[in-house]
């Protein structure tokens, strides 16, 4: 899993590529929480290059989503495709997240 981040107009752009397995999910969690501790509260997660996710990755996104809501921030997810998109639908998280 590759996790590239940069800040554009006060929004953290998170560009993911590869498979988001349990070990990568923890690295993603730590990265995003560090941004939140530094005052960032708006996130855009690009997932068009992600070819695998499971409950560990979904759980991290839920966790960050909850924290952003608590501080009036936002988490937007874009570009899910194929079976990754199906898993968001299967778990009904497509109704929870702002997915574009």
């Amino acid at each position: 899993m590759q996790i590239d981040t940069n800040i554009v107009n006060n929004q953290v752009i998170v560009d993911l590529s590869g498979g988001l397995y349990v070990e990568g999910a923890e690295i993603l969690r730590e990265k995003l929480i560090k941004y939140m501790e530094n005052g960032q509260k708006h996130f855009l997660v690009k997932m068009h290059k992600v070819d695998y996710i499971d409950s560990s990755g979904l759980g991290v996104l839920v966790s960050v989503h909850k924290r952003t809501r608590q501080c009036n921030g936002s988490l937007v997810i874009t570009g899910t495709t194929g079976f990754v998109k199906e898993l968001f639908e299967l778990t009904r998280l497509n109704k929870v997240f702002d997915m574009q």
């Binding site: 397995y21 349990v22 070990e23 695998y52 499971d54 409950s55 560990s56 979904l58 759980g59 991290v60 839920v62 966790s63 989503h65 909850k66 194929g82 079976f83 898993l87 299967l90 778990t91 009904r92 929870v96």
Partner: protein, 125 residues
């Protein structure tokens, strides 16, 4: 049979497992692969409680018309009836739901502590 104790060890085996499923003409390799990863994560984190002296065994077997994957840990077993379906903003608890949707059949055993995941194969006739 594949044998490992940690996620890091299993990460070295994932591609071989996926290739094996493809070779065995599993109908729907992607969902089956997700179910296997979910079950392996459960075995490492909940079954063996990340005790690196304990092993997880993953066995892939071919049966008439289907492939069975057995994931066995050294824990106390898992009773799926106790697993509640989580909704909305719960961070954990989606693994069993994902497994249920990604396989044709599955069952848990308490002794030994294992889960069996079953998926049909592509019929070439």
């Amino acid at each position: 049979m594949y044998c490992f104790s940690t996620v890091e060890e299993f990460s070295q085996l994932r591609e071989a497992v996926r290739e094996k499923l493809t070779e065995m003409r599993v109908a729907g390799v992607d969902p089956f692969f997700v179910a296997i990863n979910e079950a392996v994560n459960n075995a490492i984190f909940h079954g063996n409680k990340q005790d690196e002296t304990k092993k997880v065994q993953l066995t892939i077997t071919s049966w008439p018309g289907e492939v069975r994957v057995i994931i066995r840990d050294e824990g106390q077993g898992f009773a799926p009836a106790k697993a509640k379906q989580e909704e909305g903003l719960q961070e954990r608890g989606r693994g069993i739901e994902i497994i249920r949707h990604c396989v044709d059949q599955y069952y848990f055993s308490l002794e030994p502590s294992e889960v069996v995941l079953i998926k049909k194969v592509i019929n070439l006739q």
